[in-house]
């Protein structure tokens, strides 16, 4: 098997170059001493300094973070309980419900965005509210929850069904079973779902674009408005910062997981040895 790797590996390397070339260009030009996107005019840090004085960028970053954090947390809670409920349903109920659940995932973003905008605008006309942070948050929650459910569901199936009975035989109520047995058991799925939801919220442009209205603006919307003319190097700077933070976080998480993984392997080996 090993001998076939060279071709595939070469392609993999090329693919990573393809994937990272634009990002490297973005990072390089965040240090460019001119507004040009293609001509290098010397090194500067001024975009990083100006960035923190730019009200528009800072307030849209705030909105983005607030929406992503709130939406992913709420979705994680609602989605986890919904998944447990769905898991306990008979198949002929669960299946159609999961299909509906999948709609926002497989549907085109633009249709989700437009349809939610139609809902919010008509409901707003009846009930007297406008598009704003509230509708933006609702929209994000409604496309985040399906990801949580999709990532929690498989973990529920993997749980040993005898665990529930054992827990209840030992006198646990259902709430205790859920909080002390099920939730810890599916925690990796919840965390995974939360992360996916957070990423989806952070990266979303299309749905926000249709549902945010006049008073709030996410970072993607600010960037989109800028593409109409020219992206300010300040945006390159802020993205470089976000990229660096995420890279760092991932490295930390990865190192920790790798350590845990090793521990588990060791445990398994000792168990095997004992047997």
């Amino acid at each position: 098997m090993k001998k076939k790797n060279t071709g595939g590996m070469l392609m993999t390397v090329l693919m990573y170059i393809f994937l990272y070339a634009p990002i490297i260009i973005m990072i390089v030009f965040s240090f460019n001493d001119s507004k040009s996107r293609t001509i290098w005019a010397g090194f500067t840090l001024r975009w990083y300094q100006e960035l923190f004085r730019d009200d528009l960028i800072m307030s849209s970053l705030q909105t983005t973070i607030a929406v992503s954090v709130l939406a992913s947390l709420i979705s994680a809670v609602v989605g986890t309980y919904a998944a447990i409920g769905l898991f306990n349903m008979k198949k002929n109920w669960r299946k159609p419900l999961l299909t509906v659940n999948n709609i926002p995932v497989v549907n085109a973003d633009i249709i989700t965005g437009v349809s939610l905008a139609l809902l919010f605008v008509s409901a707003g006309r009846l009930m007297g509210f406008e598009l704003g942070f509230g509708t933006l948050l609702l929209a994000h929650i409604s496309f985040d929850i399906p990801y949580v459910i999709l990532s929690v569901m498989p973990k529920l199936y993997q749980l040993d069904q005898n665990l529930f009975e054992a827990a209840q035989d030992l006198g646990c109520t259902w709430f205790q079973t859920i909080n002390k047995v099920i939730i810890p058991g599916i925690m990796p799925g919840i965390v995974n779902g939360l992360l996916i939801a957070f990423t989806m919220s952070l990266d979303d442009f299309v749905i926000s674009y249709f549902t945010a209205g006049s008073s709030v603006q996410t970072l993607s919307m600010t960037i989109y408005a800028m593409t109409r003319r020219r992206i300010s190097p300040k945006i390159n700077a802020i993205s470089t910062l976000i990229f660096a933070v995420v890279l760092l976080l991932l490295l930390v998480v990865n190192a920790r997981e790798a350590r845990q993984h090793k521990l588990e392997l060791k445990k398994e080996n000792t168990l095997k040895g004992a047997a």
Partner: protein, 351 residues
């Protein structure tokens, strides 16, 4: 214990949720001096004036931009948004008035209105002076790089095959059709079906020659030399010229469009007083001068021209000579039937 934590977490989240909503409604209604929601063209204000207005009045400005009159109209029509001040062009203002989407202004709260040039008052789009205060005016022309496309004095250059791949065209139906109609020698405001169809066919023929349909993207593309000829608003030429001194500007001999963009207040605006304060502020002489110098358009304030200390080029673009101006025409609102034709023609052209 865990349950308690979960509950607390939920509570905290919901608090956050409502705080989010709360701060929004607070900022739009109950904060000290409140806010004003402004919806303007992209790249169409000296942002330091916004800061100055916020500082002087304590009113917070929520500033958002649109790319064309038509796009702004869509957003307003779709609803769910609450802008106070909008800054559309002439023909769009008369459409908005016809559709009862504007609020009459209280001119006693806008004393600076007296500074507006008299010939810009009571124009066709707002004959009774009830709804609008002029913001800027200007002309449409061709911006080109003579080293790449030679000298230009006619709209013909926009349809010339030898410029293929270097041409940028307006990305909105009214301006694009306006160019085609003018080139053919018709009125910008024609409702004659055969003339319209002829212009549409001309645009269809032009499409393969284009580098793209653009609005404000044209700045970047002309400044960097990516494109060599494009039609756009005169004032923006000055901004591009700063970065790319090769560029020249002309108002074609066939005549062109002269436009007035005016500040209006949307029907049912929640912050009407603040909106009028904003309009008054922007109309003041000092502010108008600063704004006009920054964006390159012509201020309707009659005191501005004499106070400007600019070179000849900057002045000639802002204040074109009367002979050229006489050939220019303003857009007026079109009957619904023609508007529908514009929309469907435009979608078909672009698809």
């Amino acid at each position: 214990m865990k349950r308690k934590i979960a509950l607390l977490l939920c509570a905290a989240m919901f608090a956050g949720l409502f705080a989010g909503c709360g701060s929004k409604s607070a900022s739009s209604e109950t904060a000290d001096k409140g806010v004003v929601n402004v919806y303007n063209w992209g790249e169409y204000i000296d942002t330091s004036l916004v800061d100055q207005f916020e500082k002087e009045t304590g009113i917070k400005v929520n500033y958002k931009t649109f790319e064309s009159n038509e796009q702004m109209y869509s957003v307003l029509k779709q609803g769910g948004v609450s802008y106070d001040v909008i800054i559309p062009s002439d023909y769009m203002i008369s459409r908005l008035i016809q559709e009862d989407m504007l609020e009459p202004l209280d001119y006693t709260k806008i004393p600076n209105y007296s500074l507006i040039q008299d010939d810009l008052k009571g124009m066709d789009f707002d004959p009774q002076n009830q709804y609008s205060v002029p913001y800027m005016w200007g002309t449409v022309g061709i911006i080109y790089d003579p080293t790449k496309v030679g000298e230009v004095d006619s709209w013909g250059a926009m349809f010339d095959e030898k410029n293929s791949g270097k041409i940028l065209m307006f990305d909105n139906s009214r301006d694009a059709m306006g160019i085609a109609l003018k080139y053919l020698g018709y009125s910008l405001n024609t409702t004659d079906q055969t003339q319209l169809a002829e212009a549409a066919a001309l645009l269809e023929k032009q499409k393969p020659l284009l580098q793209g349909y653009v609005m404000d993207e044209i700045f970047d593309k002309m400044e960097s030399g990516e494109a060599a000829i494009g039609a756009y608003y005169a004032g923006d030429y000055l901004t591009m010229h700063e970065s790319n001194p090769n560029l020249k500007f002309c108002i074609p001999k066939e005549g062109s469009n002269v436009f007035v963009d005016s500040m209006c207040v949307l029907k049912g605006a929640q912050n009407k007083d603040n909106a009028e304060a904003f309009i008054n502020f922007m109309t003041g002489t000092e502010q108008s001068k600063k704004n006009a110098e920054f964006i390159g358009y012509t201020s309707p304030n009659k005191e501005v021209k004499d106070r400007m200390d600019l070179d000849e080029l900057a002045m000639s673009v802002r204040y074109p000579d009367a002979a050229k101006l006489a050939k220019c025409e303003s857009f007026i609102n079109l009957p619904q039937e023609t508007l529908d034709y514009y929309d469907s023609m435009w979608v078909k052209l672009k698809s």
